[in-house]
Structures are given as C-alpha cells and as structure tokens.
C-alpha cells in the first residue's frame, strides 16, 4: 500500500507570502500616483522581504544541513539580502524619501525605479533559496541517507548505483557553488532525490523477494491493545511523523505481520527499513493498531504471516 502526503515545509517557509510579494512588485505601477505613496509602498515591500528573511533564517533550527554540510542560514547570509545590499537599499530609500515632496520628482522616480529593480532581484533570489531549502526531499543529505539505508538493512555498502547519480550530485554542487538556486532547487535537487528514492525502492523490492521468510532486521513487537471489532472502513495509512515530515524524510518500510485466525495483526516486525527509524516506528505502530480485517481471516486455528510495504511519500507539487 502507499500513502501520499504533503510536505509541511512548503507551507511553513512562507514561500506563499513571497510569491505574493513578488507578484505585487511586478504589477507595481511605476510612475503613477504621488511619490510619497510609491515610496511608502516600496518601503513596505522592503520591510516584508526583511521579515521573510528572518523567518527563513530562523527555520535553520529545524532544517538539517544539506549535501554541502551547510545550513539555510549560511545560504541566506552569503546569497540573500546581505549587509552590503541592505545598506545600499537603505541609502537609496532614504535618499528618495528625503527628496520626495520637493522639486526632485524626477530624481525620486529614478531612485524608486532603481530600488524596485534591486528589490525584485532580491525577492527572486530569496524565493529560489527558499524553494531549494523547502522543496520536497532536497534538504536531506542524499548520500548520507543512502548509506544509512544500507546500514540499517544490513546490505553491503558497495551497490550498483544509477550512474546518473554521481553526475547529478556534481552538477548540483556546482550550481550551488555558483549561487544558482533556481537550477539547483527546481531541477537538480528534486531529480537527485527522485533518483535516490528510486534506487531505494528498487533495492527494497529486490531484497523483499530474497528475504521472504528470512529474519527481519528488527524484531517482532506484540500488540498491546486488544483487537477492536472488525471495522467496515478500509484502514487508513499511518500518520506521518511530524519531525520526519519537517525533515522531508521519505521512504518505504516492509513489515512482516503475524495475523490471528480472526484476521487481527498480533505482532509486527520490520523486514526492510525505510532508512529512518521514525518512519519504521510509525509503520509498526500503525500496523499494531489497525482493527481486525475479516477479509484476512483464515478460519479457526489458522494463523498467518504476511509481508506488507508501507510507503511515506510527499505528494508531488
């Protein structure tokens, strides 16, 4: 079975607010209205950018380091609204404001135009940084996750990886090095995450076949609560652990279930780990809490063991 979830980060990072800000600026009518009003509006866009910068910066407490070992704060500090850029915007706005209402309307207009251009550039760049850091699966350290997936499942370190992966990794690092967050965030990072996800899934399928009947990687855990009355509704999927969701962790867990003659799951074990303990635990918890399924009942005295794959994946945007 498979579940689809939405990445929380897409919402929490305030990308929406920024998109509004960006669209507001593009339709901003240069040259129309009193200069004071226009300057005031520019000032408020600038203030919004600063506030958004703070919000994203503070999410560094929640987000892991990326493939380079850097944090979102590092990228914002180096590529966002830097001290120098902020100083330049401050000075231009102050100059325009001091000229407003006097003879220098033309000067004010010119300054306002320059500030607008610069602000648009900053907002665009900010949006791409936000997108890179909050897009599904990009913030994770892909290679580390791959390694831990292999380790938990007791698989040899040397695996035939899709040859596209190292190429893509190199490209991503170069883009990030160049500050091209647009390419990195929109293309390279999601592609890389997808390739690793595919590699994990492929490996999971292979191993699942070979492990049929073999010992699970994590021992059986018994059901503690009694089985409830058979439920007519189809069972829902496990709840996405909030921390995993925040950290953009995706994966597939293969469970082995022991079922009673009534179709109740009385014990569950992890056959193949997703690579993330939190996701594995959530899957086992869920399996041990599902009501008995009459469809699974095999009649008096017949117990049954079966394997079940549970996937945690964000919905594609």
């Amino acid at each position: 079975m498979s579940q689809r979830y939405q990445s929380q980060l897409c919402r929490c990072a305030g990308a929406l607010g920024l998109a509004l800000l960006a669209s507001g600026l593009t339709i901003f009518p240069i040259g129309a209205g009193a200069s004071e009003d226009r300057l005031q509006q520019l000032r408020s866009y600038y203030r919004a950018l600063r506030q958004q910068t703070w919000q994203l910066y503070e999410s560094a407490n929640m987000l892991p380091r990326d493939i380079r070992g850097l944090t979102i704060a590092d990228d914002l500090r180096a590529h966002g609204l830097t001290r120098e850029k902020a100083r330049s915007l401050d000075e231009q706005l102050a100059a325009a404001e001091s000229g407003a209402g006097q003879d220098g309307e033309a000067l004010v207009d010119a300054t306002a135009m320059a500030v607008t251009t610069q602000l648009l550039g900053e907002v665009g760049r900010f949006t791409e940084i936000a997108n890179y850091w909050t897009g599904s699966g990009v913030a994770v350290r892909a290679r580390d996750n791959w390694t831990s997936f292999l380790k938990i499942n007791g698989l040899p370190e040397a695996q035939d990886l899709d040859p596209a992966i190292p190429v893509l990794e190199k490209r991503l690092l170069e883009e990030l090095q160049a500050g091209d967050f647009r390419a990195a965030g929109r293309v390279s990072a999601p592609e890389l995450a997808a390739l690793y996800g595919k590699a994990r899934m492929t490996l999971t399928r292979q191993v699942a076949g070979s492990r049929s009947g073999a010992a699970p990687v994590r021992d059986f855990r018994n059901r503690s609560a009694p089985c409830t009355t058979p439920s007519p509704q189809p069972p829902g999927g496990p709840a996405y652990p909030p921390t995993s969701r925040r950290l953009s962790q995706e994966g597939t867990v293969v469970l082995r279930l022991r079922q009673s003659p009534e179709g109740c799951t009385v014990a569950a074990a992890v056959v193949i780990s997703s690579g993330y303990t939190a996701l594995d635990d959530a899957a086992v918890d869920w399996a041990l809490q599902t009501p008995a399924d009459p469809g699974e009942a095999r009649g008096p005295g017949v117990e049954r063991t079966k394997d079940l794959a549970v996937s945690f994946k964000f919905e594609d945007e």
């Binding site: 203030r47 600063r50 506030q51 910068t53 703070w54 910066y57 503070e58 560094a60 407490n61 704060a73 914002l76 500090r77 609204l81 830097t82 001290r83 902020a86």
Partner: protein, 672 residues
C-alpha cells in the same frame, strides 16, 4: 535577644507617647471594697511616678508645624515622660518593676527619676537589688523627707480585696480595687507564684504597689494578660528576701536572624555586683545582653553551619544563578527553608528634583533602598553628607510622626550622630550612619554601599533599648546583600577613583574608554574590549557589573559575574556577558538543563540570531568558554559565559551575527 514577650515585646514598636510601661487596656473591676482615706493619703505619699526627661530639642524637620495643640494638656506641657510607678520600701529605698528601668536603658532621654504628686523630681541614686526574671529593681533616691515605707503583708489570702496603686496612663497616682483571684507559677521553672488579681491595671501601673484592704503591700504590679483582666504582681516577699548587692540576669530567649527560618532557644544566667548608679547599671546590663547576644548568635551559626549559605538547601541554585538587578536584595530562606535570591517586597520609587530617583522596598523585615542619579544630573550623590543623604531617602521612604490624632511627615533627621565606614566579609565598604529619633526614643540606621550611580543599602528604625544588639543583627545582613553595580562611564570613573568606599574586589578592575572609542572592562576573571563595530559607547552608555557570590574551593567570594553594556538607557541595544558556573547536582533542573544547552551550544545558545518582530526585539546568544576550546559534557569547564547581543531596531540576522563575532573576538574569560 527577645525576652519575655508579654511585658517587653511592645518596646520594639511602641511610640514614646505611650512610654507608660505596663500593657494595654482597662477593665473596671466589679468588686468594690474600701480603704480608708487615711490609708489612701499615706499610700499616695509613698508612691511616685517614674519619669525620664524629654529630649530638650528636636533635630527633626517636618512638612508642616507639629500640631502640638492636638496633644492633651498635660502631655504637651510636661517636661518628662512618665514611664511607670515606684514606691518606698524603706527610708530612701524604693522598688519598681525591673522592666520599667530596662525600658530606658540606653535611652536618649537621660536616667529615670522619681516624681511626687507636687511635681518634685528626685534623681535615682544607686541600684541595690535587681532580678530580671522576677522583674523588680530596688534603688535609692534622695526622695522627700519623711517618706515612711508601707507595711508589708507577706501572706496575702486569695479572694480578698486588693488595690492596685499606680500612675495609670500617666494620670498621676490613682488607686483601683479588685480581688486577689489566683496564683500562676513563674513561667520558666515555677520557682515562685505570681499573684493574679482583678484590679484594673493600665500602662504606667508597672512597679506600683498591690495592697490588701489594710493598705499593706502584698506585691509589685508587673503586667497583665493581654486579653483578660487577670493582672500579674510579684509577691513582695520575693523582693524583700532578695540578696542585697546583686543583680541577677536570668532570661529565656530565642535567637534568630531575619533571613533564616532556623531559630535557637537559649537561656542566659548571669550576675553582677551592685550597688551601681543608673548609668553604670545600664552599661553593666547592656554589656551582658551584648555578650549573650553574641554568644547565642555564634552558637546559632555553629548549630546551623550546614544550613547557612553557601551551604544549605537552595544554596546551589543561588550560586548557579546570576541576578541582574541594580536594586538590592537579601539572600535568605523561603517558606520551605530553601535559600533564594528573591525579589524584595513592595518595591516603589519616586523621582525627586535634581535628577535623583529613590526606590525602596523591604525583605525579611529590613528596609532596602537605592538612591540613584541620572546621567548628567545636578545632584552629585557621591558627595552628599549625612543630612542631605537622609533628607533624600525621606523623600522616598515615608516616615510619619503621630501627633495626637494627626500625623506629620518627617522631612529631615539632621546630621547623623554616628557616621563611619566598616568592611564586610567580602571587602565591601559600608557607610554606617545613625540618627537619633527622639520622638520614638530610637534611632534610624542606614548601612549603605556606594555604587557608581549613587547608593544602595539597608535602612532600619531601632529602639534605643537593646539598640546595640539589634544593630549587630542588622549588620549581619550585610553579608547577604546582593546588588549589581551600574552607571555611566563618567559615573564609573568617579566611583573608581574614590578609593575610600570602593570594594576591594574592584581594586584590579579597569573600566574605561580608550582612544579608539572602545570600551575596556577587565576584572580578574573577565576581560572584554567592546569596539564601536560591536557597540559604540558614549557618556550616556551604561555599564552594569553583575556582582555575585562564587565558591572558590571552600571560600565564598564576591566578584564580577557578568557585564551588561547598554548603549543608551532609553534603548534596547546592548551587549551582555554573564557567567554561568557549572551547576552542582543540587542546583535543580532549570539550571541543569540550561547548562547542558550551553555545553552543547543548543538553542538558544547556538549563535543564531532571533527576532520577535511584533515586539521589535532582535537578539543573538553565543558562548564564551574559559578553556578556549569548545568543551564537551565530559570535560566541561567550571564556568561558561553566555554572551548576548541585543539590537534596538529592525536589523538583519547577519548584523547580529557580526555584533556577536566582534564581541567574542575581544573577550577573554578565565576561571579561577
């Protein structure tokens, strides 16, 4: 030292307008009996008021003229305070209650004297017999000629009528009747029985004779139960049988300190030789009280050595917490006998002309104050003399003198009668100033420390009786006094150059602005240089040193636990460096969790900027480690320093990161 509460506790609070010894209320007796007018005359002839002269001049000033017309005629015009009653027990020999004399030991009013109904005053000569717990004193006086002692009845009978004679409520000698109702064994050991009687007794009756219906003395009126008309008298035989030439001091007491819940009961039994004149008697008695107080206080400290700060429950937490408050507080027990550095009670303040602010509060029954001067204010607090000092304090601390039904605010106590400097256990120089407060026969005492922007200290009103012992107990509070030192750079410069009042801990302190406009602060365990890139300082900027108690081995030190530099007192921009000693296991979860976060550089100690946009608040917190390198939980140093930078307005995160980086770059912390 607290002695028998039922007849002496009043001394702590009483106003001398009621310096009539013997306590509370009058309940008329139902029983009527008769003494002949002849007896009455002879009784009046041998019974005297005990009086002390009033202060001749008033050094105090008030916010309006004293409405003396509100005082009763007699009180207004009498040159004496009437404090009790005495009567003759032989030629030139008189007796009164012991506490009548004790109430004016150390009094500002001068020695007690006798006064007859014609207003003649006779000085007390020699004290010849005295017993503190039997509560009598026998003394000589050059009284009027032909005073014939009253007859004595050593075997009075219960249920017979009795007459209490005395100077009730200062009205002169009056006689009231009642019954000899019962007997009560003496409280301490039951060595004798008090006579209990129902004749009315009022303040001022103390020391008067209790007579039988034949006019013979059966006892000396001592006191009364607070809530019932069952008064006490000492059987006269106890007085007459007492050995001549000996003063007996025998008191149960409870020793306590204001900020400590643990108390220590004790008993002092001492004797000294008589006769002595009154001043000699007073000093001999007060010497014993002083010695016994010191002895029992030492015993208290020894008995509870394991409970006294820095030992005892709660101390670990106090030692692991640095308080930033320029208003002082006292360390002391909370309700559960845990040491704490709690906020004082009832803090209030007032701005007075001259750019001075007076704040007052209280804690453990002791007054606390802070007198501070705004930057560039006209008044130079460092230079004020004792008169100006108290005049200022009185602007913040309301002191009212009751006059009849009105109350008048005291605005000045004049110049202090004692003004000296003493050092406490931590090398802090305390200015001790004492002013007489004649209208309550007491003293106002301030113990104060000079701080860069003014003075902080303790203030207490202490009755003259037992003054020295109470003063010593107050002075013990100096060692529990906790306060941060703050001021502008010019204020600091003046403060540090005035060596007489500078604490020894500041001898090695450097605090100044160098030529590059950087602020340098250096003490033995902390040295920082704050460059304008981190925080620009000027004459308005404030520097506060968070002074705290620190353990170095077994020794308790008082030293710099942190520095707070505020760019402008009206703005938020500041840099602070605060020491966090490694907490002991007893310090509690709050401190332990904080320490773990600091060691692990976890939020909020992760050098990441924080913003609260709605509060317009921007800050960043990092850690300075004395060991230079980053410590792990295993080899954590004895202390870490929390470094906080706060910005006034909408900055960007990297502005704060840079401010922190610049601060840390020139910060050296050590740990001794």
């Amino acid at each position: 030292m607290n002695s028998r509460a039922w007849n002496q506790a009043w001394l702590i609070r009483a106003l001398p307008l009621a310096v009539l010894v013997l306590v509370i209320g009058t309940v008329p007796s139902a029983q009527a009996a008769t003494v002949t007018s002849e007896i009455q005359r002879s009784v009046r002839g041998v019974t005297f008021e005990v009086v002390v002269p009033k202060a001749k001049e008033d050094r105090l000033a008030y916010d309006k003229p004293l409405p003396l017309e509100l005082l009763p005629f007699v009180e207004r015009n009498d040159k004496y305070w009437s404090i009790g009653t005495a009567f003759a027990i032989g030629p030139g020999q008189f007796v009164t209650a012991g506490h009548v004399f004790l109430s004016v030991l150390g009094s500002q009013f001068g020695p007690p004297a006798l006064r007859d109904s014609a207003g003649n005053v006779y000085p007390v000569g020699q004290v010849t017999r005295f017993s503190s717990n039997e509560d009598f004193v026998v003394f000589t006086a050059a009284g009027p000629a032909n005073v014939k002692a009253l007859d004595v009845n050593r075997q009075p009978v219960i249920d017979e009528p009795v007459y209490a004679v005395g100077n009730a409520l200062g009205e002169g000698i009056i006689i009231r009747d009642g019954l000899y109702t019962s007997e009560t064994p003496e409280q301490q050991d039951g060595r004798w029985k008090w006579i209990r009687f129902s004749a009315a007794a009022s303040p001022g009756n103390s020391g008067g004779p209790l007579l039988d219906s034949a006019g013979r003395v059966i006892g000396v009126v001592i006191g009364k139960s607070p809530n019932e008309n069952l008064n006490f008298a000492l059987p006269i035989a106890r007085v007459l049988n007492a050995p001549e030439g000996r003063a007996t001091f025998d008191e149960n007491f409870v020793q306590k300190l204001p900020n400590l819940n643990s108390t220590l009961p004790g008993r002092a039994t001492r004797q000294f030789a008589l006769p002595l004149n009154f001043p000699e008697f007073a000093s001999a008695y007060l010497k014993i009280v002083g010695e016994e107080n010191q002895k029992s206080r030492a015993l208290l400290r020894k008995t509870y050595a394991n409970e006294l700060f820095p030992a005892g429950a709660g101390s670990a937490k106090v030692l692991a917490t640095v308080v930033n408050d320029r208003f002082p507080r006292l360390l002391g027990h909370d309700g559960n006998s845990q040491w704490q550095a709690a906020d004082p009670d009832g803090l209030s303040g007032i701005d007075v002309p001259g750019g001075v602010r007076i704040d007052t509060a209280s804690q453990y029954g002791v007054g606390l104050f802070r007198m501070s001067q705004k930057a560039g204010a006209g008044t130079q607090l460092a230079q004020v003399d004792s008169k100006a000092f108290m005049d200022l304090l009185l602007k913040g601390q309301r002191v009212m003198r009751q006059v009849g039904t009105d109350a008048v605010r005291v605005t000045s106590l004049g110049t202090a009668s004692r003004d000296d400097i003493n050092t406490d256990s931590f090398g802090r120089q305390w200015q001790r100033r004492i002013w007489p407060l004649s209208y309550i026969d007491g003293f106002a005492v301030t113990l104060s420390l000079a701080v860069p922007d003014g003075h902080v200290g303790l203030v207490q009103t202490i009755p003259a009786a037992g003054f020295e012992a109470a003063l010593e107990n107050l002075e013990l509070m100096r060692d529990y006094f906790y306060v941060s030192y703050g001021g502008t750079l010019p204020q600091w410069s003046n403060f540090l150059s005035a060596t007489a009042l500078r604490p020894t801990a500041f001898k090695e302190l450097r605090l100044k602005r160098d030529k590059q406009e950087s602020l340098e602060v250096s003490s033995p365990n902390l040295s920082m240089k704050l460059r304008p890139e981190a925080l620009a300082v000027d004459d308005k900027s404030n520097v506060t040193l968070l002074m705290t108690f620190m353990l170095a081995g077994d020794r308790l030190n008082w030293d710099v636990g942190g520095v707070v530099v505020t760019q402008d007192p009206d703005k938020k921009t500041q840099v602070s460096v605060v020491r966090q000693p490694r907490p002991s296991e007893l310090a509690g979860d709050e401190v332990t969790v904080r320490w773990k976060q600091m060691v692990g550089r976890e939020a909020p100690f992760n050098s990441l900027a924080k913003a609260d946009v709605t509060e317009n608040s921007f800050w960043i917190v990092g850690i300075a480690d004395p060991s230079g390198s980053r410590a792990s939980a295993a080899n954590a140093p004895a202390a870490l320093y929390e470094v906080t930078c706060v910005a006034e307005r909408d900055v960007l995160p990297w502005d704060l990161e840079e401010m922190l980086r610049m601060t840390l770059r020139d910060l050296v912390v050590t740990d001794r």
